[in-house]
């Protein structure tokens, strides 16, 4: 049997008092004998221990004392450490400084990336900021900080409220630290007298986030008797024993973040002393005769072992915030605002003038969507809704640059309130490059929501086609397509294009309608490449093709007149109107009770959703583009998911999957005249069956002759 090399480490724990022990562990193939002494704050005894072990152990690790204290580049050497360092001459001395700071900052980076507004506007209490590397970063993340260093060291209830204050305190008291801390405490009660505990308890109750150390937390618990003060708090700590973690959760803490990664290599260390980990890693480095510096060695070790920061437990109970921009769909919507109701009864010219004036104003906070909770993760999301007081016509007529400016201003406003991302609704995503320019200038990610709009369009159409049985009875093609004819009007637009691509996977005949022939031909080619067996027609006029079309999807930005002649639509067809404003109005739809006209893109978000403002839909239904913003926030995907007028099929599928994951559902489907009930569908089907009996196709247009004209004589 090969000999496993053995090394010995003296571990002196200044933060705990208790029986000494000796433990043997194996770490990275090396056996370590750890001689642990829990002596509390007693530098005299520590010095005696260190002198006895100098030259007789491979390393001495000090837990609870750092080389230096301070913040953000301003540090003082710890006088206790200096004294102890002078006591030995042969054995390397290790503290927690570098490794603990590294793990803390690494974990914090990830935490802020996943929950960017975690600290924004919150009160963070640091148990001992001058030993914590993350103070500046937490301040940068927007938190109001309060540091208990003065309370712990001097017993005086003086909160330090900034990095500068901590720096000044450390500098001013470095001499006092030596005087105050170098005396041995006779009793652990004197370490944290009752008045200090009471004050600390009060500060903990007032804070939202508590940054502490596992050892200090243990002391706090033993002196206060419980951890009830941590109820509803977010706790950040260097490490926690599994038992302590359970007690904190039982006390009702909202979230616990531990900086020490969970990894099998670290499980062998019986207590999570960063100084001990430093000693072990350095001894391995020495054993391997590595040329790397300690920091480099640690980096290599982390990569080699695939150590990752801890996953965070579900942040159920912690809200994430996003934002959404809407605008007035008609001039009448403007007069719904408080104080503007009288405008309904004034002269139209005054209304127009007022409307024009309002359109130049920046967006304002309109209301909020609350109560959205993921069914999968429990993540809560709040969406602030901002309104631009401009109609679609006004937005289209404005200079693009001006609109971009207004949208970016809104994003800035939203970011200040803590939104992690913002969505563009209705025409705000139609103007210009559909969010690309705004996204580049915005402080937070932007999405135009088109992916989910496309997704829910087809979701709704699919649901209706299934219900009404449109195209049924004709069977399927050899490659599994439904023998049915579909049409997409506005096919070359953002939503229209993706709708065309998705529908082309299902039906065997597709008509693409748009105003730009060149783009139509391009799209036709793309579809034929994707689905060679499909028959694709392109046209700028939908009417001749309506008589035998089973499914019509409209996704236009049409402002004037009808886009199709509804009287030519085949009985029993389903028209899926994705446009806002609607392409098929209530009066149009009412002309054909045997044709099912649905609005698409409406979603029911998971949770008990409430919306405090009127967004033009029955509450709590929301637009798909708004739902996309909320769902991405729920998922923690703060990114420009849907940008530009180009949509990708993959994203449409992906957002559909994300929606399903969190529990989003298709809302009850709306028609131009309100909710579509099963009864209405039944009536439509009955009428359609009747009308189909006498339905005649229109006369086919004469084909052009291919003969040349006779020459003139």
């Amino acid at each position: 049997m090969s000999e496993i090399p053995e090394k010995s480490i003296l571990l002196i724990d200044f933060l705990r008092e208790g029986a000494a022990s000796e433990q043997v562990i194996e770490f990275e193939g090396v056996r370590f004998r750890i001689h642990q002494h829990r002596i509390g704050w007693d530098l005299d005894t520590a010095e005696v221990l260190m002198r006895e072990h100098d030259g007789k152990v491979h390393g001495i690790a000090l837990s609870g004392i750092q080389k230096r204290a301070g913040a953000n580049g301003v540090y003082v050497s710890h006088p206790g450490y200096q004294r102890l360092a002078r006591a030995i001459t042969k054995t390397p001395l290790y503290t927690a400084d570098e490794v603990r700071s590294f793990f803390a900052e690494w974990t914090l980076q990830r935490l802020i990336r996943e929950q960017p507004q975690l600290f924004l506007g919150k009160k963070t209490l640091f148990h001992c900021a001058s030993y914590s590397a993350i103070l500046p970063r937490v301040v940068e993340a927007g938190s109001e900080v309060l540091c208990a260093d003065a309370l712990l060291l001097t017993g005086l209830p003086i909160p330090l409220k900034s990095v500068r204050a901590v720096q000044r305190f450390v500098q001013a008291t470095s001499w006092a630290q030596a005087a105050l801390k170098l005396s041995r405490r006779d009793s652990d009660k004197r370490m944290f007298p009752k008045k200090v505990q009471r004050q600390l308890s009060k500060w903990v109750s007032d804070c939202d986030i508590f940054v502490t150390f596992g050892s200090l937390l243990d002391q706090m618990e033993s002196q206060m008797g419980s951890l009830d003060a941590l109820k509803d708090k977010i706790v950040l700590t260097d490490y926690l024993s599994p038992e302590a973690a359970k007690r904190i959760e039982a006390a009702g803490a909202r979230q616990v973040v531990e900086f020490t990664p969970k990894h099998s290599a670290l499980d062998t260390i019986p207590t999570r002393h960063f100084s001990l980990l430093t000693a072990l890693l350095d001894q391995i480095r020495i054993d391997e005769n590595s040329d790397a510096t300690f920091n480099e060695f640690v980096l290599q070790w982390i990569q080699h072992q695939e150590v990752k920061p801890n996953r965070f437990k579900s942040t159920a109970g912690i809200e994430r915030r996003c934002a959404f921009i809407i605008h007035a769909l008609t001039q009448n919507d403007l007069w719904k605002a408080p104080g503007l109701g009288l405008m309904k009864s004034v002269h139209p010219k005054i209304r127009d003038l007022t409307s024009a004036g309002l359109a130049r104003l920046p967006a304002f906070y309109y209301g909020a969507l609350k109560g959205a909770v993921s069914k999968e993760t429990g993540q809560q999301v709040v969406c602030d809704i901002y309104a631009l007081p401009a109609t679609p016509r006004q937005l289209i007529s404005m200079d693009e640059a001006f609109v971009y400016k207004r949208l970016v201003q809104t994003a800035e406003l939203a970011a200040k309130r803590g939104a992690a991302m913002i969505g563009l609704g209705a025409y705000t995503k139609v103007i210009g490059d559909a969010g690309l320019t705004v996204s580049k200038r915005s402080p937070i990610p932007v999405t135009n929501g088109n992916s989910y709009s496309a997704s829910t369009t087809l979701w709704a159409a699919h649901a209706m086609v299934k219900k009404i049985g449109a195209g049924s009875g004709r069977g399927r093609t050899t490659d599994g397509r439904v023998k049915a004819k579909a049409m997409v009007i506005g096919a070359t637009g953002s939503i229209g294009r993706v709708s065309s691509l998705l529908v082309s996977l299902v039906v065997d005949e597709l008509v693409l309608v748009a105003t730009r022939p060149d783009r139509l031909l391009d799209l036709k080619q793309e579809i034929e490449d994707l689905s060679p067996t499909i028959q694709v027609k392109v046209t700028t006029n939908p009417n001749p093709e309506l008589h035998d079309t089973d499914l019509i999807v409209t996704a236009t930005s049409n402002q004037h007149g009808s886009i199709l002649d509804i009287m030519k639509v085949k009985p029993g067809a389903v028209i899926c109107d994705c446009s806002r404003p609607l392409d098929i109005g209530p009066e149009e739809a009412a002309k054909r009770p045997d044709v099912l006209v649905i609005e698409s893109g409406e979603v029911k978000l998971p949770g008990d959703v409430s919306i405090s403002c009127d967004i033009g839909l029955p509450k709590p239904t929301v637009y798909a583009c708004l739902a996309e913003t909320v769902l991405l926030t729920m998922e923690g995907r703060y990114e420009g998911f849907s940008l530009s007028k180009q949509l990708s099929m993959e994203k449409v599928k992906e957002i559909y999957r994300i929606g399903n994951k969190h529990g989003a559902e298709l809302a009850e489907i709306q028609g131009p005249n309100g909710l579509i009930t099963d009864e209405q569908i039944q009536q439509c089907m009955t009428l359609a069956r009747e009308n189909l009996k006498s339905w005649k196709s229109p006369e086919q247009p004469r084909k052009r002759s291919t003969a040349k004209s006779l020459p003139r004589t």
């Binding site: 010995s8 008092e17 208790g18 029986a19 000494a20 022990s21 000796e22 001689h35 002494h37 002596i39 509390g40 007693d42 005299d44 005894t45 010095e47 005696v48 221990l49 006895e52 072990h53 007789k56 152990v57 041995r184 405490r185 006779d186 009793s187 652990d188």
Partner: protein
């Protein structure tokens, strides 16, 4: 059987060593000592070693001991915490460490000398079981002895822990090595009685609880207890026992009141005693200047702790510690011989 013994030059250790030397079953005795001193018996070997030195572990673990008796420690209430920690904790840890290595090859139990003082400040009871908590640090001796004991009971090596009470002179002649515990008080009484004014003292305040027990143990009884515990652990007198913690004293020994009454009546018959069970620490410290009696002596006398020794008495009936009444004459004779007869230790 080869046995290691530490503290063999101390008050208790010397008596234990005599038992070991006389025992034919013990064929070799290694005595740890810092000083090079000899014992006449050929089976006694002196190992010069500082137990607080980690190199002791390596050296001792190479030996083939069948058992170890760890009696060494610092018994000095005036000693500072670091010194106490080194001698009572670090040294114990090193002995444990050595025995752990030996136990990897063969069973080698440890008989460890703790003290009843580990029960100080633990809420009124000291049962014959491993300590759940350490006492407060304000008496370094208690804390460090408790830490050492806890290291033994949680070490995983076979062990018997004995917690002797206050060791006093032997039960035959009352001979003792140094002034300690009740002898401080007796010494002061004697000095006071030596002066005419002192002899007329009408009242005598005594810091202590009248009903607190002073667990006085004649050293020969304690030594026999350790010796028998060793034999038991070696399996020489029956099957090897499970790990145990014993109170090596009589749980009723003598109350503070009864002891003081007897002692004062001997030396200051005119004084009326009154007790101060909760005298503040600064005053206890201050009285030392007047009396020379360590503060800790009175602090132990002020604790009304329920002491258990039933398990010890059942396990070692032949050396069960008697109540003070049965050896008080010898005790006082011994004191008088040493202090008043000019042979003060």
């Amino acid at each position: 059987m080869k046995v290691l013994i530490t503290g063999a030059t101390g008050f208790l250790g010397k008596q234990v060593l005599r038992h070991l030397v006389a025992d034919a079953d013990i064929t070799q005795i290694d005595v740890i000592s810092r000083k090079k001193s000899t014992h006449p018996a050929p089976k006694v070997r002196v190992l010069q070693q500082n137990l607080a030195d980690l190199t002791a572990v390596e050296r001792l673990s190479r030996e083939d001991y069948d058992a170890a008796l760890h009696l060494a420690g610092l018994y000095d209430f005036e000693a500072k915490f670091p010194e106490n920690y080194r001698e009572n904790v670090l040294a114990t840890l090193n002995v444990i460490s050595a025995l752990k290595r030996i136990n990897q090859k063969r069973r080698a139990p440890l008989i460890h000398a703790s003290t009843y003082a580990v029960g100080y400040g633990n809420g009124g009871e000291l049962s014959e079981a491993p300590l759940a908590h350490l006492p407060p640090k304000d008496i370094p001796y208690s804390y460090c002895k408790a830490a050492g004991e806890k290291a033994v009971t949680s070490s995983g090596i076979p062990h018997t822990v004995l917690r002797p009470g206050v060791l006093v002179g032997d039960s035959i002649r009352g001979d003792f090595d140094k002034t300690d515990g009740p002898y401080y008080f007796m010494k002061w009484l004697a000095r006071t009685a030596a002066h005419a004014v002192g002899r007329r003292l009408p009242v005598l305040p005594v810091p202590g609880h009248p009903d607190a027990i002073l667990p006085l143990v004649p050293v020969d009884f304690a030594a026999k207890g350790f010796y028998l515990a060793l034999r038991t652990q070696l399996g020489l007198d029956g099957p090897t026992p499970a790990d145990a913690v014993y109170g090596l004293f009589n749980s009723k020994s003598v109350t503070v009141q009864d002891f003081c009454r007897r002692a004062v009546s001997e030396l200051l018959p005119n004084a009326k005693i009154f007790y101060l069970p909760s005298l503040a620490r600064p005053l206890l410290r201050a009285q030392k200047i007047l009396t020379g009696i360590p503060e800790a002596t009175f602090r132990f006398a002020s604790e009304k702790t329920a002491l258990s020794s039933a398990l010890y008495t059942a396990a070692f009936p032949e050396c069960a510690v008697p109540e003070f009444e049965s050896f008080q004459e010898v005790f006082f004779k011994g004191f008088k011989r040493h202090y008043l007869g000019g042979t003060e230790p």
